[in-house]
Amino acid sequence: MPINYYIFLAVALFSIGVMGVLTRRNAIIVFMCIELMLNAVNLLLVAFSKMHHATALAVDAKTMVGAEAQLFVFFIMVVAAAEVSVGLAIIVMMYRNIHSVDINFLNRLKH
């Protein structure tokens, strides 16, 4: 399958994520959109990894080219998981305090 399809899909996912972050006010949805963007990147990484590995395999049967990208994906997933746990905790605290998860109330940065 040509790499283009993966790219289009990843761009689409990423854009949906961006739009979600920009337009939605519910913190949980914003959070999910961020995850969506991360996963779009993950998808791209895996796709390119596979592509480079395939080209390198034609020259050298034992090559490991492209494996690093898949490593990155794991890192990203780990970081994302950590982020989710912290982020969700923040959201919970926020709900406890202001009884809302609307991010427009989170304008404390200004003060």
Partner: protein, 632 residues
């Protein structure tokens, strides 16, 4: 003896310090006596030095005390110079100064003791400065004295400091003097640039090799200084106002000594003036113009001291005429005789004012002849002397200047003579209105009229004697050959100038004719004035026309006010309110305001909304990509 020269100014300085520091504790009798004695000590030393100087063949001596300004490129020692000219001035200053100190002990009797001591401290300081001025061996030391006498003049004019007008007069005197001083200073700087030194003994021999333009510049700037100190056009207006000071001060500073500093300075620099092409004519013309202007004003004044003040300005003008036409000896001679008779007249006026309880308007006087016999007689002698009636001293000195002017140009002579005639007129008008006729003051004043005490009359008598006989020091060539002692005495000082002047011999017959004509005219004017004002009766008619112009002093003060003071004030206000506040501070504060304003605008970007930050980030990223991709 010349080794002890430094003592001459030192004595008055000690007097100043003792009286100044001890003014609270010293009794009046001590401070007056001590102040006078210091001057007497200087006078005696001056006589001793004079005895040494008058010996034939005495050459100028420099006495170096210590180094004042000492740098690689300029060395100005604190040094004195003793020669015939400075020795003569020493005698005049300390001699007349001593008499006036003695006079002051009685005249200022009514002052409280600390103010009395303050007065003598100032007076001593003045003598000190004046001595520095004439003793200085270079222009810088001369300048120290030059400004010092200006300061003392300021302090003494404003002596009664509670009076606002007096303070203004004092300030005016100081500022006008400062304008002149700036000219003097610039001349000194020019000399430093030209010669690298300010010593008389180094500059004068090199005057011959100096470009005429440079000499003209230097001499003109020095003359600006002289116009300030010696009250010539355009800086003369301070002197009449300076009469606000106590009368002995007017006699000492504003008649006999300080105002002649300009003449001394030019006489000292005579070689520069002789060699400079244009300056002498300017000096002569300014001197003559001042002389006429001041004499015309004096005719219409009614304040006894103001008349004398304008008379002083007028006589100083004549001296400058003498300097301008190269009659240096004549000018110095007139300085000397003028010191005697003008001090006499001022002190006489002081005696009158004393008797009249501080009344100075001559319209309220009259008939004082019988009440103040000694004052009257000495005052009359002063009038005759200043009017130039032979054989009194004024005749000889004025005659010498006028003859010098005639040799130069008859026009100068006739204008100068006209000024001399005006002098006779206003002096005898003053005399007649004060001493002749009937008393016009209040009854109470008449009751208190009395002759002044001995401390006042003795100086008057001594000065009167000097005013009579001083003329014989300079008997002109026509009367007796080689009888002009002063010319002979001062010859070494003016030797170089004399050598360069073309001899204008006037035939004896011409000289006799001119002299006779002048004396006759003066006598006629004198009797006319005596007759006209001998029985003066007060008239209430306001003065009109030309007389009004004269009594308002040609409106010179008003013109200065409108042309200089007002615009300067306006400019200052403009600077202060517009340029300083609005322009410069406006720019400075404007920068700050602009930054604050733009920050306030940019603040909206920092809304605190996470969403807007992300939006900006995304938009920026997209723009960045677009530039990356399509930009190339």
């Amino acid at each position: 003896m010349t080794k002890l020269t430094y003592l001459i100014p030192l004595f008055p300085l000690i007097g100043f310090l003792v009286n100044g520091l001890g003014r609270r504790v010293l009794p009046k009798s001590f401070s007056g006596a001590f102040g006078s004695l210091t001057i007497l000590a200087s006078f005696i030393l001056s006589i001793l030095i004079f005895m040494e100087v008058r010996v034939e063949g005495f050459t100028a001596q420099q006495i170096r005390l210590f180094s004042f300004i000492n740098t690689a490129s300029l060395n100005i020692p604190f040094a004195f110079q003793i020669d015939q000219l400075s020795s003569l001035f020493l005698l005049i200053i300390t001699g007349v100064g001593f008499l006036i100190h003695v006079y002051s002990t009685a005249y200022m009797k009514e002052e409280e003791s600390d103010h009395y001591a303050r007065y003598f401290a100032y007076l001593n300081l003045f003598v000190f400065s004046m001595l520095l001025l004439v003793l200085g061996a270079n222009y810088v030391i001369m300048f120290i004295g030059w400004e010092g006498v200006g300061l003392c003049s300021y302090l003494l004019i404003g002596y009664w400091f509670k009076n606002g007008d007096y303070n203004n007069a004092a300030k005016k005197a100081f500022v006008m003097n400062r304008i002149g001083d700036l000219g003097f200073l610039l001349a000194v700087f020019w000399m430093i640039g030209q010669y690298g030194t300010t010593n008389f003994s180094d500059i004068f021999p090199r005057a011959n090799d100096t470009a005429p333009a440079v000499l003209t510049g230097i001499t003109l700037l020095l003359f600006v200084g002289a116009t300030g100190k010696s009250a010539q056009i355009p800086l003369y207006t301070w002197l009449p106002d300076a009469m606000a000071g106590p009368t002995p001060v007017s006699a000492l500073i504003h008649a006999a000594t300080m105002v002649t500093a300009g003449i001394y300075m030019i006489a000292r620099s005579n070689i520069l003036y002789t060699l400079a092409p244009v300056t002498p004519s300017i000096v002569a013309i300014i001197g003559l113009a001042t002389s006429i202007l001041a004499a015309t004003i004096a005719i219409q004044q009614n304040d006894i001291k103001k008349v004398l003040a304008y008379s002083t300005v007028s006589q100083l003008g004549l001296m400058f005429l003498g300097l301008g036409v190269g009659a240096y000896t004549g000018a110095v001679f007139h300085v000397m005789t003028h010191a005697f008779f003008k001090a006499l007249l001022f002190l006489g006026a002081g005696s009158v004012i004393h008797a009249m309880h501080h009344e100075q308007d001559i319209r309220n006087m009259g008939g004082l002849k019988k009440h103040l016999p000694i004052t009257h007689l000495t005052f009359l002698i002063g009038c005759i002397a200043i009017a130039g009636i032979p054989p009194f001293s004024g005749f000889f000195s004025k005659d010498e200047i006028l003859m010098g002017a005639f040799a130069h140009s008859p026009v100068l002579y006739f204008i100068g003579t006209f000024s001399a005639l005006l002098t006779a007129f206003y002096m005898f008008r003053l005399y007649a209105m004060t001493f002749l006729g009937t008393f016009r003051g209040t009854h109470e004043q008449e009751h208190h009229l009395h002759e002044s005490p001995a401390a006042i009359t003795i100086p008057l008598v001594i000065l009167a004697l000097l005013a009579v006989v001083a003329g014989f020091l300079g008997i002109p060539e026509v009367f007796a050959k080689d009888a002009h002692w002063l010319q002979h005495f001062l010859a070494p000082v003016f030797a170089d100038s004399t050598a360069r002047q073309e001899a204008h011999a006037i035939s004896h017959s011409t000289e006799y004719a001119l002299m006779g004509g002048t004396v006759l005219a003066i006598l006629v004017i004198m009797f006319y004035a005596l007759k006209k004002f001998g029985n003066y009766a007060r008239s209430e008619e306001p003065v009109t026309g030309f007389a009004k112009l004269l009594s308002n002093k040609w409106y010179v003060d008003e013109i200065y006010e409108a042309v200089i003071n007002k615009p300067l004030k306006g400019l200052s206000v403009f600077f202060n309110n517009v340029i300083e506040r609005s322009a410069i501070d406006g720019i400075v504060n404007g920068t700050g305001k602009f930054i604050q304003y733009s920050s306030r605008q940019l603040r909206w970007l920092q809304s605190g909304q996470v969403g807007s930050y992300i939006l900006i980030m995304v938009v920026a990223t997209v723009v960045f990509f677009i530039i990356q991709i399509f930009g190339k």
